[in-house]
């Protein structure tokens, strides 16, 4: 397995940053050396910042002719050996799904930021939303696993961007960084140097004799070593179903074996991939499940409710996909009811209902283009507590 070495923590470097700028700075800190994008609100600041930052570190920024080309170029650069990334918002995220599926199937590491704005279609370009939760998981056709991370503050965007690169490189998978317009454009002070886990991960590259090398044969860890073009392996990479040798096949056993390995690659690492935060869940009668800015509002609501004697707690998935289901089951084990506030018509609630099958789960859904206010969540908690007491 590859080594994650913690860099020595430099002196605290406190800055006022928006979420998108923090994302861009974290990308170069994580070793990102290629960005391809297309202008779209509210994610363009990531591209703008990286167009300035990447040349400083001998990286490449390119603005492509469309969203599809940007995703394709990112995968091309990653196949060439660079840590690569793109950033977009809803309409662009839809267009990226075609090549995102290629990255998942051919196992090409890359990071895709999707800043969620109101939809469907062009929707509300400058307004927040959390309506791409299911698209992040199921957006491309066919069966494939992927990782999606859902930070809730500027500081967490910084840390999770770095983790997104680490996970993408370690597990050879696309990683989606999913956050809403509010935290994308919200400015907060961030201490960059002090505590963030500046993990540096190197992809598992093929080594050893080319004659014996099979690009999709994995040893026990289910992660095949990747061939670096020019290193003598001369392999074939395809979006067709392929066997261990990388060439197209429709042999039922080979197809089954490869897709099963693709899923086992992430399934077998849930301890390392899952991440979440719980606040006051130990004694909570009402557990709130929320991500992003809705989770921030929920934290305030919980304090208010506790002050009035209603025991509420928060379960906040940070790794959104695969969903940290074991942790949620534990956090909600003693709860009388679960509340899911989200800026959509109930996507996260679907997953929570699946995980907590049979438990009373209520939604608080706002899809007006406004963020959910703490008072709205507090009112829902109070009403729900009355109902279940």
């Amino acid at each position: 397995m590859n080594v994650v070495s913690a860099m020595p923590a430099p002196a605290a470097d406190v800055r006022l940053l928006s979420g998108n700028h923090a994302c861009a700075l974290a990308a170069t800190a994580a070793g990102c050396r290629f960005f391809a994008g297309y202008p779209i609100t509210p994610s363009s600041e990531i591209a703008e910042r990286l167009s300035l930052e990447l040349p400083k570190v001998d990286g490449v920024f390119v603005q492509m002719e469309d969203e599809i080309a940007a995703m394709a170029a990112v995968i091309g650069a990653s196949m060439g050996g660079l840590k690569s990334m793109t950033a977009t918002s809803g309409p662009g995220f839809s267009l990226k799904q075609e090549n995102l599926g290629y990255a998942a199937g051919a196992e090409i590491p890359c990071v895709i930021v999707n800043v969620m704005r109101g939809g469907p279609s062009t929707g509300m370009p400058t307004r927040p939303s959390q309506a791409d939760i299911m698209q992040a998981r199921w957006g491309s056709h066919g069966d494939y696993p992927l990782i999606a991370l859902a930070p809730a503050s500027v500081r967490e965007i910084y840390d999770e961007t770095i983790r997104a690169f680490d996970l993408a490189e370690l597990y050879r998978t696309p990683v989606v960084l999913l956050y809403d317009q509010v935290i994308a454009q919200l400015s907060e002070t961030v201490a960059l140097g002090a505590a963030h886990p500046r993990g540096r991960v190197e992809r598992k590259w093929a080594s050893g004799p080319a004659a014996d090398y099979k690009p999709y044969a994995a040893d026990g860890d289910a992660i095949p070593a990747m061939p670096l073009p020019g290193a003598g392996y001369r392999t074939h990479t395809t979006g067709l179903t392929h066997a261990e040798d990388g060439f197209p096949t429709q042999n039922p056993e080979a197809v089954t074996r490869n897709l099963s390995r693709l899923f086992s690659k992430l399934d077998g690492r849930r301890d390392a991939i899952d991440s979440w935060e719980t606040i006051h869940c130990e004694d909570a009668e009402i557990v709130i499940v929320a991500i992003g800015i809705s989770a921030r509002a929920a934290m305030r609501a919980i304090e208010e409710c506790r002050a009035k004697g209603v025991r509420a707690g928060l379960f906040r998935p940070v790794t959104l996909w695969p969903f940290p289901q074991a942790a949620l089951r534990e956090a909600a084990a003693k709860a009388k009811a679960v509340l899911v506030p989200e800026m959509n018509t109930g996507q996260l609630r679907l997953e929570v209902e699946r995980v907590l099958a049979g438990a009373p789960v209520k939604g608080l859904n706002l899809f007006s283009g406004e963020a959910i206010a703490p008072a709205q969540i507090a009112a829902s908690i109070t009403a729900l507590a009355k109902e279940v007491r």
Binding site: R33, V60, A72, A73, G76, N99, H236, P248
Partner: protein, 279 residues
């Protein structure tokens, strides 16, 4: 025309033998296009480890799997966009794109025109067989007028693209066209394209014997080639700039050339200047 290296060139040195037999139909022109490319690679002594071939979807897209190099068979219409990322990341590689007329001009048309404009060093071979062969013979953006395809049962009523005129208008630094029938000439054209410091677009007029030829009763492979011979004439581009595509005199050879700055080098030198405090 140089055929002097023919004796020294063994195509099997550049093929993945484990992939044989190939899947192309008998008489398909794509095999000759592949031979010409590999011969050009041989003549220029390009190291197979330094060669990357990116291909799209369709019969042309399948060719990359046969080449003993770093090969990438990507999504439909996107090989130029993938190759753009690869070539920007790895200026040390020779990046060749193999695409078809549907892949390059229909679903991937936007990537082509912007690659011509951007002028990143890539060699793009568009194998034009006038049809979507792999999906069973549907009309493409280059299907000649009144031709029969499975989606133009009454004859094609749409006008077709002149891909070379399109690439030239979009600013490609190198534009050429050749037929598969003249393998040595095609090889020389590909060599010139590979040597060009910028985006090189080469249209190869290929023959889909099995699907397009059969549907239009164009005869066997040799008969299709002879028809090409009577319909095409090598001539200077300017002489024929106003003639429509495939109207009895389609020019071949190098059709346009300019030496605009190559994008990757321009980007890297601007970045280096910025790092050195020039900006």
């Amino acid at each position: 025309m140089s055929i002097d290296t023919a004796a020294a060139f063994d195509v099997t040195d550049y093929l993945r033998k484990q992939m044989m037999p190939h899947f192309l139909c008998p008489g398909c022109g794509h095999g000759m296009a592949l031979r010409a490319l590999l011969w050009a690679i041989h003549d220029l002594e390009i190291d197979k480890d330094a060669l990357a071939v990116v291909s799209g979807i369709g019969c042309a897209g399948r060719l990359s799997a046969y080449i003993d190099a770093n090969t990438f068979h990507v999504t439909h219409g996107r090989p130029i966009a993938y190759a753009t990322g690869l070539a920007l990341a790895r200026p040390d590689l020779h990046v060749v794109v193999i695409t078809g007329d549907g892949d390059c001009l229909a679903i991937g048309g936007n990537h082509l025109i912007h690659a011509c404009r951007r002028n990143l060093k890539l060699t793009c071979l568009m194998l034009n067989n006038e049809v979507y062969g792999m999906t069973g013979g549907q009309v493409s953006p280059t299907t000649s007028q009144s031709r029969l395809t499975t989606t133009t049962p009454l004859g094609n009523a749409e006008p077709h693209f002149d891909a070379c005129a399109l690439a030239t208008a979009a600013g490609a630094g190198f534009v050429g066209r050749e037929v598969t029938r003249h393998v040595p000439k095609l090889k020389e054209l590909i060599k010139a394209g590979l040597r060009h410091e910028g985006f090189a677009f080469i249209e190869i007029l290929s023959d889909c014997t099995e699907i397009f030829g059969r549907k239009n009763e164009m005869g066997s492979s040799p008969e299709m080639m002879m028809r090409q011979k009577s319909e095409l004439r090598p001539s200077a581009y300017r002489d024929t700039v106003d003639t429509p595509f495939r109207a009895n005199d389609l020019p071949t050879g190098i059709l346009a050339r300019n030496d605009r700055p190559e994008y990757g080098a321009a980007y890297r030198s601007a970045a280096a200047a910025a790092r050195n405090g020039a900006r």
